[in-house]
Symmetry: C2
Subunit: 86 residues, 2 copies
C-alpha cells in the first residue's frame, strides 16, 4: 500500500531562523505590514509499506537520521493513505 | 489586528525538484521504502492589517513579487486570525 507522509521540519524556539529573518527584512523593505516570518521545510513523501503505523515509523526514523537535526529542529509528521483507484 | 498567514510555495508539475530528488536518493540509499519526495517551501507570516481579506491580499502580492516565481511555482495561502488574549 502507498501512504503519503507530510513532514514539517522547523527550527526550535530560540534558534536563529536566518532565512525567515531575511525574508522578513525583504518584505518590510517592499512595504508589507509583516512581522515574525518563519521558514519551514516541508516534504511530501510517498511510502510503500503495509500500514499507516509503519509509514509513520519509517518517516520518524528518516527524520532523526536525515531530514531533521534533533539539536535544532522540531518535526511533525502526518500520514494519509493514498488513493490507488486509477 | 494580527493575522497569521501560512504560505506554501511548491514547484509546478513538470519542473525539476532537485532538492526533492536528492532527498529521495539519500532516503533510498539509507534503505527507506520511499518514492516521489517533494520539497515545499513553507512560510508562517504575521500580518498587521484590519481584516482577513486584506491579509490575504497583502500576502498574495508578496508571493507574486518575492516569495514565489510565477514561472515555476504554484502557491497557496491560508489566513487565520491570531489570538491576542495575553
Amino acid at each position: 500500500m502507498k501512504f503519503k507522509a507530510e513532514v514539517r521540519v522547523e527550527l526550535k524556539p530560540g534558534v536563529l531562523d536566518a532565512e525567515g529573518k531575511t525574508t522578513q527584512k525583504s518584505l518590510k523593505l517592499l512595504g508589507y505590514p509583516v512581522s515574525n516570518v518563519k521558514k519551514i521545510n516541508f516534504y511530501e513523501i510517498e511510502v510503500d509499506v503495509n500500514s499507516a503505523e509503519n509509514a509513520k515509523a519509517v518517516i520518524e526514523d528518516a527524520c532523526r537520521r536525515l531530514l531533521a537535526n534533533p539539536v535544532i529542529h522540531n518535526y511533525g509528521i502526518e500520514v494519509t493513505e493514498m488513493n490507488n483507484s486509477i
